[in-house]
């Protein structure tokens, strides 16, 4: 378990982190999610000991780690650009931490072979990083980080340098790996879809502060702040009420709580349809409906209809165990 309290960090005039309090439960896969400059990477690097905080405390497994150098924190770290040891083979890369710990050769060999098997690089031990693809390099970096059996695994935008298909594939793979190995994992990303897909807990950061902590579903359906609402997906302003475009239903007859609007244009986007409405009270809004709904409504440009928000709420979250929200 990682506990962070009162963490602050300043770079010149820039406040990277402002009084961060956070608990990361044992065995979880937590994503630190936020736009660039939100402090998510700084927070991760402070947990790793690669950056020193101006104030506050970091605890790993109940022990104060604030002044402990990265070498003795029991962490594994994966960098966005792999940080592969270019002059070493895949085998030597993965074995590096074990050799530093003077692990017996036979044990090192067994552990490295096992890990290369897990990350799907079994036949690649004699290759050099320059002979691997980006995805393979990142899997090698993961094996290298896991070789020393870290108490926590920290990943800084690990898929950021990969193309979309590989990214999605590695995401699924990381999720399965986490379920198998079970090590407490913290992942930094600016991609909300990636965070929701892979993590079981999200920490949304903005401007060096935590906006919200919760499961992907809680955060998507019950965003605590306008920032979280906007960052996790598209929004529509329906007469002052900010909702998701897919939470608006349309009807041909006036309905209570409905807003009168005129269909300006219907956009076909494959499996979904976007309807651009001009509200009678002023302003325009995009509504997302299915092809079936469109067929039932028989909408045409210029039709007058009524739009009403019907947000599907997640059940009220249980009081989070020890993880209070800081805004």
């Amino acid at each position: 378990m990682i506990r962070v309290s009162g963490l602050t960090k300043q770079f010149g005039d820039f406040q990277a982190l402002a009084e961060i309090d956070l608990e990361i439960p044992e065995g979880s896969l937590t994503a630190l999610l936020g736009p660039s400059g939100s402090g998510k990477s700084t927070l991760l690097r402070i947990i790793a000991g690669l950056e020193t905080p101006d104030g506050g405390r970091v605890e790993i497994d109940g022990a104060d780690a604030t002044g402990v150098p990265p070498q003795r924190r029991g962490i594994g770290f994966v960098f966005q650009h792999y940080a592969a040891f270019k002059h070493m083979t895949v085998y030597d890369n993965v074995a590096f931490g074990l050799k530093i710990r003077k692990t017996p050769k036979a044990d090192t060999q067994r552990r490295v072979d096992e890990l290369l098997g897990i990350v799907g690089l079994a036949g690649y031990s004699a290759r050099y990083p320059s002979q691997l693809s980006g995805g393979q390099r990142q899997r090698m970096a993961l094996a290298r980080a896991l070789a020393v059996e870290p108490r926590v695994l920290l990943l800084d935008e690990p898929f950021g340098a990969l193309d979309a298909t590989v990214r999605e594939e590695l995401r699924q793979w990381l999720r399965r790996l986490h379920d198998e190995v079970g090590v407490t994992t913290v992942l930094v990303t600016h991609d909300q879809q990636e965070a929701m897909d892979v993590a079981d807990r999200l920490v949304v950061l903005n401007g060096g502060r935590i906006e919200q902590i919760g499961t992907p579903r809680e955060i998507y359906e019950r965003p605590a702040t306008p920032f979280t609402m906007g960052f996790l997906g598209p929004t529509a302003d329906l007469g002052g009420e900010v909702v998701r475009p897919h939470d608006i239903t349309l009807s041909r007859e006036p309905v209570s709580g409905g807003h009168e609007a005129m269909v300006r244009r219907v956009h076909y986007l494959g499996f979904e349809v976007r309807v651009e409405l001009e509200l009678a009270e002023g302003g325009s809004v995009f509504v997302q409906i299915t092809r079936r709904e469109l067929a039932e409504l028989e909408l045409h440009d210029g039709d007058v209809i009524w739009a009403r928000s019907e947000t599907l709420r997640a059940p009220e979250p249980r009081p989070p165990a020890g993880a209070e929200q800081v805004s």
């Binding site: 790793a48 690669l50 990265p70 960098f79 940080a83 040891f85 530093i100 290298r144």
Partner: protein, 268 residues
């Protein structure tokens, strides 16, 4: 840029003629003149006691100055690239000082510090250490002259490699020392090698600074370059050619080493 073929051809011819007149002809002539009187005469000329002494002194000075400068240069490059501190720009300028100052001036300035009539030189002389007109002074002069060569080769490589690999090594448990030997040094090795070759060539060829601090004691503080100067001054022209030929040979070996290292350096 599109250049007509006749222009391209004459451009190439011009460059080749320029290089031939300026570089190849004089160096080629040195070898020609060296071997003109026959191999026996060459052998006699390079096996005189003062020639042997000059050769070994040059080697000794180089073997002391270059390794020390290599350690210092790598350290300096690490400080410049990995640390933030005040006065970094100033330090960067100071490193290039030997490029800008004439070697003779460097020799004279060393004389000003280490001459036995000056406080520092006198203090050392009282303790039995004679710097001027002996080998320590010549090593100092050589080291002064070659200061920029390793730093300026290694620093850009360090910059390009970045410090992420070192950070990764730290998270895997490597101490600073382990990280230097296992990660940093292997990544900059070709830059270091290139710096060593360049500074070796410069150390062997140094004349001005060494000339001032050596006292030119024949058989004692005379290096190969000083021997060339002395023989030429004494109208022993063939002797001067032979010693120059030896220097030029060392230079060619250096050039060969550079050619072998350079492609690796660029692909590292």
């Amino acid at each position: 840029m599109i250049v007509p073929s006749w222009a391209r051809l004459s451009l190439r011819t011009f460059v080749l003629i320029y290089l031939a007149i300026l570089l190849l002809a004089p160096v080629g002539l040195i070898f020609y003149r060296t071997f003109e009187p026959g191999l026996g005469a060459v052998w006699d000329s390079i096996t005189t006691p003062e020639a042997k002494s000059a050769f070994w002194l040059t080697i000794k000075i180089t073997l002391i100055a270059v390794p020390l400068n290599t350690i210092f240069g790598v350290l300096l490059a690490l400080i410049l690239e990995r640390k933030q501190f005040r006065g970094k720009a100033l330090l960067n300028t100071i490193i290039d000082l030997p490029f800008a100052i004439s070697p003779v001036v460097i020799g004279l300035s060393l004389l000003l510090v280490y001459s036995i009539n000056e406080p520092v030189g006198g203090w050392l002389a009282d303790r039995g250490i004679r710097v001027m007109f002996s080998m320590p002074g010549m090593v100092l002069a050589t080291m002064f002259v070659i200061v920029p060569f390793v730093v300026r080769e290694v620093a850009p490589v360090l910059d390009e490699v970045g410090d992420e690999q070192e950070q990764a090594a730290a998270t895997l448990g490597a101490s600073g020392w382990q990280s230097f030997w296992r990660i940093t040094l292997p990544s900059i090795r070709w830059g270091v090698a290139y710096g060593v070759v360049l500074s070796t060539a410069r150390a062997i060829g140094e004349f001005g600074a060494v000339s001032v601090v050596s006292g030119k004691l024949v058989g004692k503080t005379q290096t190969l370059t000083l021997l060339v100067g002395e023989r030429y001054g004494n109208f022993d022209v063939h002797g001067a050619y032979v010693a120059s030929g030896l220097l030029a040979l060392i230079a060619l070996v250096t050039l060969l080493a550079m050619t072998l290292i350079n492609p690796r350096r660029e692909h590292a």
